[in-house]
Amino acid sequence: MSTVAVIDYGMGNLHSIVKALQHAAPEVDVVCVSDADTILGADRVVFPGVGAIRDCMQALKQSGLDAVIQQVANTKPLLGICLGMQALLTDSEENNGIQCLDVVAGHVVHFAEALTDGDGNALKIPHMGWNQVHQLHPHPLWENIPQDSRFYFVHSYYAQPDDAAAIAATTQYPNAFTCALAQDNVFAVQFHPEKSQAVGLQLLNNFLHWDGHV
């Protein structure tokens, strides 16, 4: 039986992601852990996160999990979700600037102020709800997910990787932003697959069967 470790670093509720992983692939053993050995011993690792980046990085540093995640990023399939994706970049402009894990070179920035949609209505921040994910390249994690499927988002910041080759998908709000990153054995998404119904479960299932190669 393969195992997937969901990293628990005290940043909120992991109930949904654990249940969704179990539902997506009942044959996989899902463990929710903060212990470095268990994380490093798992076949795959999910790095979730909600809230503010300062609290997230603080919690990771205090527990020593920052180095563990960096190590995982070099060795096995890793899936970053929402704030877990943002934390993988070099730094974020949230909370007046925070250094992040630098697994993927680039920055995390806020949606520009005073954006409007096609009808001239002010765009709401956070970007909250179901938006389309446009896949840029084939990838094992996109298998059986139709192009431009809608996933559930809730965020005010987004990733800007230095290398455009790392962009796995984009979403329009109102301009295209990076909603998924792919770099070797690392995949990261701004949306919440665990809250995106059938397509979300498909993505989790794909991850749980991914060998880390593209």
Partner: protein, 257 residues
């Protein structure tokens, strides 16, 4: 193509059963919340909101069990409102699998509670529920005030100013209910919805008064709502969520189909 407008069915839960009253009387039993949530998920609901109207404190745990059960098999966002008064109430709901909590009266009695909640759990999970009632006379520019106790107690607080204040305090979304329209099936209070939606930077969910599918579309087109919430038209299978979405799409609204 862009962000879809959301349709959110709301389940009023009393002692673990879904009920729906018309103008706060004639409460009808509409069934098992877990079963109904499953059906809404199948029909394509974008989120589900549970409003706990259980009167007695002792029976509050029933909603926690409902959320736990639903969150184990329904993978869309879940919001729980009703009786959220402390940080511990919020923690319990989030741990049970809720993604957001709705804060209503507690925000009116202690606005700082919203600030504390947003700082502790993040704005993304804090929905401030606003119950507003029109206080301007016919012919006057529209003016609405906040009411508590199911629309019975006026507070003298202006609804637009209050919505802005709640966003400043960290609300990530506003659930706006017109107490004049709730349960009437006459449609949303569109001027109120539009006034609030244009006044705040966060998404606004329109609620109160939906009686047919055009009302839902009107809430988005004329009310400028980001999401529309309804209860009774879905509970008694008058319309499915899918029909509601098809209808909104036919009026040019982007929805998740």
């Amino acid at each position: 193509m862009s962000l879809a407008k959301r349709i959110i069915p709301c389940l009023d839960v009393d002692n673990g059963r879904v009920v729906k009253g018309v103008k706060f009387v004639d409460i009808r039993d509409a069934g098992d919340p877990v079963e109904i949530a499953r059906r809404y998920d199948r029909e394509g609901a974008d989120e589900i909101t549970f409003l706990d109207i259980t009167a007695t404190h002792d029976n509050r745990d029933t909603i926690v069990h409902v959320v736990e059960q639903v969150a184990s098999e329904v993978f869309i966002p879940l919001t729980v409102g009703g009786g959220i008064r402390t940080l511990d109430d919020i923690r319990r709901m989030l741990n049970a699998g809720a993604d957001k909590v709705g804060i209503n009266s507690a925000a009116v009695f202690n606005p700082d509670f919203v600030r504390e909640a947003a700082e502790r759990f993040g704005s993304q999970c804090i929905v401030v529920a606003i119950d507003a009632k029109k206080v301007s006379s016919l012919g006057e520019p529209g003016r609405w005030e906040i009411f508590t106790h199911g629309g019975r107690k006026p507070t003298g607080i202006d609804a637009i100013a209050w919505a802005k204040k709640m966003v400043d305090y960290g609300a990530g979304e506003i659930l706006l209910t017109s107490m004049d329209r709730d349960g009437t099936r006459e449609g949303f209070d569109l001027p109120l919805t539009r006034a609030i939606s244009e006044a705040v930077t966060v998404p606004v969910i329109a609620s109160g008064g939906v009686g047919n599918l055009d009302h839902l579309a009107d809430g988005v087109i004329e009310g400028k709502a980001d999401a529309v919430l309804a209860a009774s038209i879905f509970h008694f299978a008058e319309y499915t969520i899918e029909q509601a979405k098809q209808h909104m799409a036919s009026r040019g609204i982007e929805v998740r189909l």
